[in-house]
């Protein structure tokens, strides 16, 4: 084992592994090992439905963030190095505003008498205000606004050290701009896009306050189930749902990695 792993291992051991072990131990042994909580999860339709719905919301949020974030990061990377920090700064400014505060801002913006409805009616696009708040659409708008900077930074992190001269070389060799992008830049930066998706996906799975504030009743998230059970001090069920979430997410992440590695590999093959 590499010595450089030790600081991170210590942090993970003391502040993650031991506390989570305590919670799982407390939750799943009552006093004998019990599967009653898992049974409850599978047998009550509501829980499974909420879980599947969380996966759907998180995956769509992740996709939207990467679809918007990747070109944004690409745009920044193509500017001269002196301009880049300013553009990155612009992307990061909203993060200084607490997520809770931003969520309230969306409530004001998307309301029936909110700014957007008023503006659309005033301009004449709408005849009368429509329902925007308390819909899944509002959830995506709010979550993408919160998580988009994350996707941009992640994509930027891998793009910035792709040698710009490679692109220029491709251009000199006669490649059209888009071809140069597709054959040289895209394969090299795809890793960042996949990572960005994974981070946004994982973070979204942990959200519950934002969907609860701006979404409809069908936008309940799995983290919400856990929060409700913790409020009731029902650690068994909370820990069981967390375990299901952990196993599912790790498997999903591995699958996405394997598939994306294939794609990136074949894209690189194609260029050489």
């Amino acid at each position: 084992m590499r010595i450089t792993l030790i600081p991170a291992l210590l942090l993970a051991l003391i502040f993650f592994l031991i506390p989570v072990f305590i919670m799982f131990y407390q939750g799943l042994f009552d006093p004998e090992f019990t599967t009653q909580h898992f049974d409850r999860f599978w047998n009550r339709g509501a829980y499974l439905r909420i879980f599947i719905n969380s996966v759907k919301i998180s995956a769509i949020t992740g996709l939207l963030c990467v679809l918007i974030g990747y070109p944004t990061a690409y745009f920044i990377v193509r500017r001269p190095p002196s301009v880049r920090p300013i553009l990155l700064f612009l992307v990061l400014v909203p993060m200084w505003m607490s997520v809770l505060v931003r969520t309230y801002a969306w409530m004001v913006l998307l309301g029936r008498e909110g700014l957007i409805n008023m503006a659309l009616v005033y301009v004449g696009i709408l005849d009368e205000p429509i329902k925007m708040m308390y819909t899944s659409g509002a959830v995506y708008v709010a979550m993408v606004q919160i998580l988009l900077p994350v996707a941009v930074i992640t994509c930027y992190g891998t793009m910035a050290d792709i040698d710009q001269s490679l692109l220029s070389a491709a251009r000199v060799m006669g490649a059209k701009p888009f071809a140069a992008f597709r054959r040289v830049f895209l394969p090299l930066s795809l890793e960042g896009a996949v990572t960005g998706f994974l981070i946004v996906f994982v973070l979204s799975m942990g959200f519950f306050i934002v969907p609860a504030l701006v979404g409809g009743p069908k936008d309940t998230m799995v983290a919400n189930i856990i929060a409700v059970q913790v409020a009731k001090a029902n650690w068994g069920f909370a820990a069981s749902v967390a375990l299901i979430l952990l196993v599912f997410t790790l498997i999903a992440m591995t699958l996405i990695r394997v598939v994306s590695k294939r794609l990136i590999y074949s894209a690189r093959e194609e260029t050489s």
Binding site: P7, M97, A105, A238
Partner: protein, 266 residues
């Protein structure tokens, strides 16, 4: 470069970028005016204007203390997290293949398990050890929370890096540390900075651990959350606005200074 910048595609890209920034700034555009409201509730547009909620913020020791506490904790946690995470990412890159999934799973799990579960476990430990309301404890917990993201970001940058660089440095007689610092680290700089920013905001906006571990010393998110439970008043809008104005000023000053020195050198 020139031809590329003037191409229609590049005009579209610029437009796309501007739209993206506008979207990101949308909530700020309502929070900013609401912070200058003289009324009791968050109203848009405010019916009466004033600096009432700014005075409220600046006259309140607890608001200011929680602000500085959050900044301090986020700064320390992000440095700790990025240092430990970068070292771990490099280490993982060279660990035996069979062990990699185990470590990766371990380092990523904190991002997946909902915070409240980990926080309760940490709280039990804090109670055992008498370390409640301890700032260093929260710094380390937040550093742990940042790890998965540092690892993902730096790891992604490492995977596309050419390992032959460091090997070459080693061949030319550099020691392992020297090879790491001179050959491996420099190309990772953008990813490391990204991680630092990321870890900073993870800590800066973190609520649940702070609530469990830091009951006696309130952080900014805890303060905002507490106020949302009972009365929502425009102070929270003022705090956000102060941050945005302060960072914009700092960024502008830095940029002006940089331009000046660049001109002088030219």
């Amino acid at each position: 470069m020139k031809s590329l910048r003037n191409s229609p595609g590049s005009v579209l890209m610029t437009l796309f970028f501007i739209l993206t920034i506008l979207f990101l700034f949308f909530p700020i555009m309502v929070i900013l005016p609401m912070s200058f409201s003289a009324g009791e509730t968050l109203q848009f547009p405010p019916k009466s204007w004033g600096l009432r909620w700014y005075r409220e913020y600046f006259n309140d020791d607890l608001w200011r203390a929680s602000t500085f506490r959050s900044l301090r904790i986020a700064l320390m946690a992000s440095i700790l997290s990025t240092a430990a995470g970068t070292l771990a990412a490099v280490g993982l890159d060279r660990t035996r293949k069979s062990l990699v999934p185990v470590f990766t799973g371990l380092f990523l799990a904190p991002a997946i398990i909902p915070n409240v579960i980990i926080a309760l476990g940490v709280f039990i430990m804090a109670v055992w050890t008498g370390l409640t309301s301890s700032e260093p404890l929260l710094v380390m917990v937040h550093a742990m929370l940042g790890l998965p993201f540092v690892l993902l970001i730096v790891g992604a940058a490492l995977r596309q890096q050419d390992p032959s660089l460091e090997n070459a440095a080693r061949v030319f007689g550099a020691g392992p540390v020297q090879a790491f610092v001179t050959a491996t680290l420099p190309p990772l700089t953008p990813a490391i900075i990204s991680s630092l920013i990321f870890a900073f905001f993870i800590s800066f906006d973190e609520l649940i651990f702070a609530l469990f571990v830091m009951g006696g010393k309130v952080t900014l998110p805890v303060r905002i959350w507490s106020d949302l439970q009972h009365f929502i008043n425009p102070t929270i809008a003022s705090v956000s606005t102060i941050f945005i104005i302060a960072t914009t000023l700092a960024m502008t000053t830095a940029e002006i200074l940089r331009r000046r020195s660049a001109n002088r050198n030219a």
